[in-house]
């Protein structure tokens, strides 16, 4: 490992902390940097400064929780993308290609507009169940031993099916205002995130990250094809099912809290591969950290770019992600 890479490993968590601190200090409400700093010291148990309750609340309970949730979501989505790309040997694989977001939307819409579950089933749980169900259906469609192409095609078909169901429910029951809220749900929003959500997201993403890392070698083997993996003694079917389920679980959880946020799972793994190479041990670390940076910054942009208003974060991730993806594609074309 060359020296600058080592620096990068040391620097990345630190810079993530800085980016989160930055996110906590930027917003509509003007709060002096010193006060933001004191609030964070208070929060970390390192100080007991007297601070205006409104300012303390905004920084600790709105901005900081939101930034942490953004970091967890960014890391989770990017990791799921990296793992799916390896498992399916397909550069286009990402959670949403496999129908999870379409299913989550259908689940949310059923709860929101038709009251499925009679109130016992909240919106997030509806989204979670819809997403998990769609993913299971896509795997079923693809058949047990399907290769990458079949799963992607099954994902496309599954997404169409669930999108059609969503459109059906929306157009038969919703008026303009409700349809708009469904739209909002589809685009994703970190607006309602509070600390309990953050703990859930961090636990799910953190555990997933460790499990993925534990499978780094196996993922390396998968890149060379299932036969190669099998010849190395990897229990291919069991590992595939386990890793697919884990990505489905993580993505469905994320969607249920913040809605569907596209492009992160697709673009960030490619950016990371570009930076640290294809070995999954370093790739998974880089992908998670880069995803977290990307999403926190995207959220800051979504909050400040239009004064007095918050853009859906999916708009920002797509606007920033699409050109980045184009650059990567262009560079690859030149090297091939």
């Amino acid at each position: 490992m060359i020296a600058w890479q080592r620096m990068l490993w040391l620097g990345a968590p630190l810079s993530l902390a800085l980016v989160i601190a930055l996110a906590a200090s930027i917003g509509e409400m003007q709060v002096p940097l010193a006060i933001t700093f004191k609030v964070m010291l208070n929060g970390a148990g390192l100080g007991s400064y007297e601070i205006d309750a409104l300012q303390q609340g905004v920084i600790r309970d709105y901005r900081l929780s939101r930034a942490m949730a953004a970091a967890a979501c960014g890391a989770g989505l990017a990791l799921c993308g990296a793992v799916l790309q390896a498992l399916l040997r397909n550069a286009l694989a990402e959670p949403y290609v496999l129908g999870i977001s379409a299913g989550a939307s259908t689940g949310a819409v059923l709860v929101m507009l038709l009251g499925v579950g009679g109130g016992a089933l909240g919106l997030p749980l509806g989204a979670f169940l819809g997403g998990a169900l769609a993913f299971a259906l896509v795997l079923l469609l693809a058949g047990g031993r399907a290769g990458g192409a079949q799963v992607i095609l099954a994902g496309v078909a599954g997404s169409q099916l669930f999108n059609a169901m969503t459109a059906w429910v929306v157009s038969t029951t919703a008026n303009a205002e409700q349809a708009r809220s469904v739209m909002f749900w589809l685009l994703g929003s970190l607006g309602g995130v509070r600390w309990p959500d953050v703990y859930l997201l961090m636990a799910v993403v953190g555990i997933g990250w460790l499990l993925f890392l534990a499978c780094a070698r196996i993922l390396d083997a998968f890149v060379f094809g299932e036969d190669a993996a099998a010849s190395l003694g990897v229990p291919v079917v069991a590992v595939r099912v386990a890793l697919f389920s884990l990505t489905a679980l993580i993505t469905a959880t994320l969607v249920s809290v913040v809605g569907a946020i596209g492009f992160v799972g697709l673009v960030v793994p490619h950016m990371s591969r570009f930076m640290v190479g294809p070995s999954h041990r370093s790739l998974l670390w880089a992908t998670g950290l880069l995803g977290a940076h990307f999403m926190v910054l995207a959220d800051v942009v979504s909050r400040v770019i239009v004064p007095g208003q918050v853009l859906p974060i999916g708009v920002v991730t797509a606007l920033a992600g699409a050109p980045a993806f184009a650059v990567i594609l262009y560079r690859r074309r030149r090297t091939v």
């Binding site: 409400m29 008026n175 349809a179 007095g308």
Partner: protein, 343 residues
């Protein structure tokens, strides 16, 4: 009463004096032609079969004593106000939401009266005006939803206004429908009654504070703790604010923009008006959920309006542009009086 409010109220009364004179004492002269939301509406005689799309339109027709001529209704939000319930227990209901084109036509109406251009308009969910006119059916859309207001790709689904909503638009709708249906005396009585109620609400309003109180109108939110939909600077709530001498903290031309709680905390309103509704689509539709959120959220519980318990509950439909805004003025005025008495 502040001088500027006197002027405002006088202006709103003035508009009623200059409201279109479409009829003399003997009644409407047919054929009657009106410019309605960019279309010419021509009626050759008083319509006998009306479909009303939108609860505010239904209530207006009932208030004009036209219940027996309603052959179909749609776009309901909740039960009718008590005063209107008794006389008309069984209104034919085509759909709870937007009725289909064929179900409207199937009632063989000679006019369709709509509350929203969303239903009868360029991208009409029920029909475009031309489609109705081609079948010999007249259409009338509330000027409240098209005069000074537009819903475009650049706005959210509730649209955007570029001038302040006014009682003049309510007056105009009542006068025009009174003329169309040839019930002009009833229309005059209704308008006079609304203006008398506004004057009373202003006279009985807050014990004038030196500085106008700032206010936020919270309708609902897609997620309870998420960014709420609040009233913009030109809609019906702004009319309530202007008449009662309040200052809206939100400066957006959108009818119901979605604004973050941090932005609201930054502006720290003196009063928060909460919409109460029958709808239960989002958690925040329930006014109790809204109150609980405001009192428990780590930020909103420190807002001035919450600490001083200046939270006023108003029926949601009284915050949307129609003659119900007069009920809204009365409810907010009473709420201000009650909270002033508590202080």
């Amino acid at each position: 009463m502040h001088a500027y409010r006197k002027i405002l109220v006088a202006a709103s009364l003035g508009i009623s004096l200059f409201a279109p004179t479409l009829a003399d004492a003997s009644g409407t002269d047919y054929p009657l032609t009106l410019d309605n939301c960019g279309h010419l509406l021509t009626v050759t005689g008083p319509p006998q079969r009306a479909v009303s799309v939108g609860q505010a339109s239904t209530e207006l027709l009932l208030s004009l004593g036209l219940g027996s001529r309603i052959v179909g209704t749609g776009v309901w939000f909740g039960p009718l106000p008590e005063a209107l319930q008794t006389a008309n227990a069984n209104l034919p209901r085509l759909a709870d939401n937007s009725p289909s084109f064929e179900s409207v036509i199937g009632t063989r109406p000679d006019i369709v009266v709509a509350q929203y251009t969303y239903d009868i308009g360029a991208t009409g969910h029920v029909a475009r005006p031309e489609q109705l006119h081609a079948l010999g059916v007249a259409s009338y859309v509330s000027p409240s939803d098209c005069e000074g207001k537009a819903t475009t790709a650049a706005t959210n689904a509730d649209g955007e206004r570029h001038r302040l909503y006014s009682l003049g638009l309510v007056d105009r709708e009542i006068a025009e429908l009174g003329a169309v249906f040839d019930v002009n005396p009833a229309a005059d009585r209704l308008r006079a009654d609304l203006h008398r109620r506004v004057d009373n609400a202003v006279a009985n309003g807050q014990a004038s504070p030196q500085v106008p109180l700032s206010v936020l109108y919270w309708f609902s939110s897609s997620r309870l703790a998420g960014d709420p939909w609040v009233a913009g600077k030109y809609g019906a709530p702004e009319l309530i604010s202007q008449i009662l001498g309040l200052r809206n903290v939100i400066d957006s031309a959108e009818e119901w923009p979605s604004v973050g709680w941090e932005s609201i905390a930054e502006r720290d309103p003196d009063v928060i008006v909460l919409a109460s509704m029958q709808r239960r689509r989002y958690d925040a539709d329930d006014v109790q959920a809204k109150l609980e959120f405001l009192r428990n959220d780590p930020v909103t519980r420190h807002l001035k309006a919450v600490r001083n318990n200046r939270l006023i509950v108003v029926d949601a439909q009284n915050l949307n542009p129609s003659m119900n805004v007069v009920d809204g003025i009365e409810q907010v005025s009473a709420g201000l009086r009650a909270s002033a008495a508590r202080q």
